[in-house]
Every structure is written in C-alpha cells, then in structure tokens.
C-alpha cells in the first residue's frame, strides 16, 4: 500500500500543520512516512507545497512524482490547480473553494472553480464557511483535514487524538473548535461528489 499526497496552499494558511497532523496519524497507524516541507521564502504569503508519502514499506524519494499522486489536498483552489500534473489518472483533487486573492492577477473564484470543474475527479469544499459555522474561522485547514479523512486509511479516533495534541498548547477552547471544524469537513466530504 502506498498513498502519495501533494499538499498546497498559501503561506500562513497552515499547510505544514495539515502535513504534520496527517503524518503523525499515519505513523500511529504504523505506516512509514516521508514528509517534505519548505521553510523561508515560501512562508511569506507565497505558494506553499509539501509532499507526504504514506506506505507500508519504506519509500525512497521524498518527492511525489508527476502522475502518481493519489490525492492533491489544497487549502486554496488556484494552488490546487498548480498541482494537477502530480495527480495520477483517477487521483482526487480535493480543495477548499475559497480563493486567497493576495496577488493582483488572481483569476477569481468563479474562473478558478470553472477550471477545476474541467478535471476528471475533484471535490470542492466550502471550507471557510464551514470553519465559521463551526465557530473556528481560523481553522480552514482543519476542515480540510476532516474532508481528507474519508479518503485516507487513517482512523478518525487517531486523527482526532493528533488534532487534540497539536492544539493542546492553545487551550481547550481552540481544541474544541478544531474538533468541530474537523467534523464539519468530514460531513462535507461525505456528501461531495468525488
């Protein structure tokens, strides 16, 4: 078994936290995990990409190859599109619907979602709205962890435990908000056409 994931988003959205939570959960499931991250320039509101490889035997490269990703998991739809070449035929592109328009030539929500609709297997989650409804407007990334949980071989209890630990330092309220965001993401993905 091997699952290759490309994570994408905009610096500041918490892409690396998503990678860390999924990686930790995979480790607790007993999988071998390789995870890349980029620090520095990429953190300042620029495009962020990370690779996560989960397998039942050690893998070699830290990179996901073009045409091999089972999942592109994106916190921003334009950044999702940037990763299409990594998807294998039949791979899933799962993205938050909400654009981060911090560049002058961002094509805008409608155009980007229209482009995404031309791809074979996609699921778009209204993550910002769900995060707000869950009382956790900053937890868009946790909504997307919930949305991805349905397609990953990671048990929900383990993911919940990893989220609790990841946010424990910020107090019980933040932990509960993130758990609510996680559930909202799970429910949304369950009804999304993928």
């Amino acid at each position: 078994m091997r699952i290759d994931i490309v994570l994408a988003g905009v610096g500041g959205q918490g892409v690396l936290s998503v990678a860390a939570v999924l990686a930790e959960a995979a480790r607790r499931e007993g999988f071998c995990v390789q995870q890349t991250e980029l620090h520095g320039m990429s953190q300042r509101g620029g495009a962020v990409q990370a690779f996560l490889r989960i397998a039942d035997a050690p893998v070699h490269s830290d990179f996901v190859s073009h045409g091999t990703a089972d999942l592109v998991l994106a916190l921003e739809p334009l950044e999702a599109l940037r990763q299409v070449a990594y998807l294998k035929p039949g791979g899933l592109l799962l993205t938050a619907a909400d654009p981060v328009e911090n560049i002058p030539d961002h094509p805008g929500r409608e155009q980007v979602l229209a482009w995404i609709a031309t791809l074979p297997r996609t699921a778009v989650v209204e993550a910002a709205e769900l995060a707000r409804e869950a009382g956790a407007p900053r937890a868009l990334n946790t909504v997307m962890v919930g949305a991805a949980s349905g397609v990953l071989p990671l048990r929900v209890e383990i993911l919940r435990a990893c989220l609790c630990e990841a946010f424990a330092a910020k107090g019980e309220r933040v932990v509960q908000q993130n758990l609510a965001a996680f559930e909202a993401g799970r429910r949304a993905a369950a009804c999304a056409p993928a």
């Binding site: 905009v10 918490g14 990686a23 509101g45 490269s61 190859s65 998807l87 791979g91 791809l119």
Partner: protein, 545 residues
C-alpha cells in the same frame, strides 16, 4: 563498515528533519559547542540545538554575528581539544571561506564539523553553488548523506574522521534533505572531549610561511591516504549488475533516492555506485567503469563527480550527466528528472495546461518594512536618477510590487558598499537599505569605508529587531546598540537618526529621509519596529507558518 554499522546499539527512534538529524548526530558525538548564522535551509540545525525542552545537555555557543565569526569560534574550540559544530547555508560558506580554507591547513585537534546546506533550485537563495567544490578546494573531507538516518550517522562519523585526519569535515545537506522528515534511530551518545591543547602547539597552528609550507606539504601528501580511506569506508556502495556491459549509474546524495524510486521500471537493472565521500572512492569508480562502458551521473548541484571522472578514468568512457545535458544543468533533481535521464517515458496525468499567475512571497501584513518603503517612496518622488541598493532578508521582497523600492540584492551586506560605489559613479541620491541583522553581519565594515570618505549617501537600516526571514532569531546585538555602533564608527551625530516605523508615522519618516537625501554627505537612518512573528515568538506565542 556500512552506515548501519557506524552506529552502536540503537537507543531511541525519533522523527527528525534532516537538519535536526544533523544536530542530534553532533550532540551524540559529544560536541562541546555549536555556532551558526541563520540561513535557509540550514537554520533548523541551530534551532534544534537551542529548542526549549531539549533534554540533556546543551552545547555552548549559539547564533553568531556571521558565518566567519561562527567558524572561528568553532575553530577555537577545536584548538582546545574539544568537538565543535558550525552550521550555515551554502553562500554562508563564502563568508566563512577565509577561515574554512585556512583551517584545513592547520592540524585540527578536537573534531571540527562544518554543516553546510545547499539550496539547489534556489528556493530561498541567490545562487545554487555546490559546497563540494569549496570542500575540494580546501582539501577538506566532505560527506554527503542521502537520507535522515545517514545524516545522523555520518555527522557522528565526521567527528571521528576530523580527529583521525586532523581536518575539518564538511557534511553537505541539500534543501530537500534538510527540510524533510523521516524516522531516525539514535545510538548511545559519546562523552565530550576533555579540554586539552594540541601538544604540537604553535607548529600546528601558527601559519607563518615556515609552518604553513610544511603543513601544506603534509596535507597534499595525505590525499592518497584519504582516497584509500574513502574506498574502504563502506559509505560508498557498489552493486554490479549480473552481466558486464550496459549502463552504470553513479548517484550522490539524494540522487540515490530518486534513482531507487524509478529503477524498477527499467527492463535491466543497471550497475550502481553510490558515492557519499569526497575525496571520491577512486578504486570503486574505476571498477564500475571497467564493468560498464556507459555511465550516467545523478548528483544534486554541479556536475562535480561527472567532471572528476574525466581524468580519473584511464579508459575512455561515455559519461552522461548535467554537463552533457542528459540532466538539466540547473535546478533540483526529482524522480521525474531522473526518469527522463534514464529514458523512461513521462507518466500520464490529468491535463490542465492553462498558465497560472505566480504567487511570490510577500511582506507580512503589518510588517514594519512596509511603512519604511512607503516613506522611502514618498521621499524619493521627484528626485533625479539615483539608486536604492538592497540587501538580504525579508525586506528584499521590497523589490517586488507594490513597493518596487529596491534595485539590487546580491550578497549579505552589499547594499552599503554598492550605494557608495554608485554615489562615486555620480548617481544621486544613493540609498542603501539593509536589515539590522545584515548590518551587524557584514554592513559595519562597509559603513567604515563610507565614513572615511564621507560618501554622499544615505543608509537606511530596517531594524525589525530580528532575523525575520529565517524565523525571528535574535540578532547578535540588541537594536539599542545600533545607534552607538553607527556613531562609534564616526557617522556625524547630526545625520544619524532613529525613527519609528509605523503606518501612522509614514509622513514623518519621509520628512527625515528627505532631509538626509538633501544632505551632501553620509547619513544613517535606523527605522525601528519589531517583526510581528518574531514578537510573537519571543512572547512564546504560536506563529502561523
């Protein structure tokens, strides 16, 4: 001896970044001190040594003013017989090169390991120079791990080698190794060395010509011994195919992982030599070349091994790699690049060909540099053709729209010297924009030059009280010391100012800058407000990544 047998019995397993594995290897090798200047992708080496909650002992040292002072401090530890680590990014080794190259002439006493992280693909750097070239130039040993486990083991081994051969040993990382996480098995830590000066004393450490000539001869004579060591080290591994002829692949560093990722798709498995030591294992390379008429070199960075092969191999062999264009001469390796080099077809993937707008990094919302650049733009409006020389840090992003405020970014500290030169060439106004940490790193000597001739220029120190770009490290000196330094090197107090960088003060800032642009002579303006993430970090708050 293989990497596995380098280690004693396993004592623990951790999930570590390459940088963290290196730091842990150095700790477990018994370092007494570690020194570094922050620079992506090497920063987390020192961060990990300084991390709160790290159990056990913490080495002395810490962040330094620049890579050269860091290197020299490590060298002093070695002179006292103890082990030291010094860490930096690839271009940092240029700054430390004087110390580095000459330290390979003295007879290093306590183990001295130089951790250098290269940045192929220039994710966060001005160039993609290859540290192996500088290591060879200095006649130092260089080890190149291909994963986190090897990073840990080879760092430990590097200290042994340093003491055995009396040489500084470089451990070369690249971005994707430094910043990838994987499980690492740790082995029992070794105790620190006692403090004990080199019995050879001045004969080994005073590089007056008499000593230097003797030591240099010894160093050159040592080369064959190092090659014999490399061939027998077990760190370089050769797997010959069942039948001679056919392709031989030479990998170095993480090139091995990309190669192993795709090799099973080849109809015939090539012979494979993985190289992890420099000097190169000459006997192993010749053995492979005798077996295989065609060679392909997969290495991260420059065509280093590829070029050495040209004169190492007595027989004519076809050698492919970055020089021949089989692999692109620039940029990072990836499994996809290696696939193409091996002649494997690209994999199918869903099609999406519309070009997308790029999303470059930006200054944080609320960053103090935004206010300084806004003020600078106001002050520069309606002036003739001047120049604004920039420097290295978050504030380099001021070169991009909407600020478009900087016209250069070359190397650490360059802004002051370049503005002075541009002023000498007749550009007016000439402005240098430099961060506080960069100013302390290498701006001060250039400021002395400017003072000496009262250069007609304005230095704008963007003081965010942090090394912002690399995650908010504390600079070598607190910001309150900047003005005394500026005045201390002789800047006229009437033309030295400290102003607050704040959105509500942009007009007032612009007034001060305007006045100093009018002044015919040197002026220095320090614009102060703390970097936001650094502020949070220092208060122990969470910083969004």
């Amino acid at each position: 001896m293989s990497v596995a047998t380098l280690l004693g019995a396993p004592v623990a397993e951790r999930v570590l970044l390459g940088d963290e594995a290196l730091a842990q290897g150095a700790l477990d090798a018994g370092i007494s001190a570690a020194f570094a200047y922050p620079g992506t992708p090497s920063t987390e080496i020192m961060e990990s040594l300084l991390a709160p909650g790290r159990e056990g002992r913490r080495p002395k040292g810490g962040w330094c003013a620049n890579e050269k002072t860091a290197y020299e401090a490590a060298l002093g530890v070695s002179m006292a017989g103890r082990r030291a680590l010094v860490a930096m990014k690839h271009v940092g080794l240029n700054v430390a090169a004087d110390a580095f190259v000459n330290s390979a002439v003295v007879h290093v006493h306590g183990g001295l390991v130089v951790a250098v992280a290269d940045d192929p693909g220039m994710h966060s750097s001005q160039n993609e120079q290859d540290t192996r070239v500088l290591a060879e130039f200095a006649h130092a040993i260089c080890l190149e791990p291909s994963d986190q486990q090897e990073t840990y083991a080879m760092t430990r081994e590097a200290f042994e080698l340093s003491e055995r051969f009396g040489l500084p040993v470089v451990v070369r990382l690249v971005t994707r190794l430094a910043h990838s996480r994987s499980a690492v098995t740790l082995s029992a830590p070794r105790a620190e060395n006692p403090t004990q000066k080199d019995p050879a004393g001045a004969r080994s450490w005073v590089l007056l010509p008499g000593n230097a000539r003797r030591l240099w001869k010894e160093r050159l004579a040592q080369h064959d011994e190092l090659v014999r060591w490399a061939d027998a080290s077990g760190l370089d591994t050769l797997e010959l195919a069942d039948h001679p002829g056919g392709l031989g692949v030479i990998t170095a560093g993480i090139g091995k992982q990309h190669f192993l990722e795709v090799v099973d798709e080849l109809p015939i498995r090539p012979s494979h030599l993985h190289v992890a030591t420099y000097p190169l294992p000459v006997a192993l390379l010749r053995k492979l070349a005798t077996y295989c008429p065609r060679l392909l070199v997969i290495e991260e960075g420059s065509p280093f091994v590829e070029r050495r092969l040209q004169h190492l191999l007595p027989m004519r062999r076809s050698v492919d790699g970055r020089d021949t264009g089989r692999i692109p001469p620039d940029g990072e390796l990836s499994p996809d690049v290696v696939r193409a080099a091996l002649g494997l077809p690209a994999r199918e993937h869903p099609a999406f060909a519309t070009p997308l707008p790029g999303r470059p990094p930006q200054l944080c919302q609320g960053c103090p540099h935004r206010d300084t650049y806004a003020a600078l733009r106001l002050a520069l409006a309606d002036r003739g053709e001047g120049v604004v020389a920039g420097d290295i840090g978050c504030y380099t992003l001021g070169a991009l729209p909407p600020f478009a405020a900087l016209e250069s970014c070359v190397c650490m500290g360059a802004s002051i010297g370049m503005a002075r030169g541009a002023a000498a060439a007749g550009l007016r106004p000439a402005v240098a924009c430099i961060g506080d940490s960069t100013f302390l790193h290498s701006g001060v000597p250039a400021l002395m030059d400017a003072v000496a001739e009262d250069a007609d220029m304005t230095v704008l120190v963007l003081d965010n009280e942090a090394v912002g770009m690399t995650g908010g490290q504390v600079p070598a000196l607190p910001d309150s010391r900047l003005l005394p330094i500026v005045l201390g090197v002789g800047v006229d107090p009437a033309h030295a100012h400290v102003i607050a960088a704040h959105p509500s003060r942009v007009d007032a800032m612009a007034d001060v800058i305007r006045r100093e642009l009018d002044h015919r002579g040197l002026s220095v303006i320090v614009a102060v407000r703390q970097c936001l993430p650094a502020q949070k970090k220092q208060r122990g708050q969470d910083v969004p990544e």
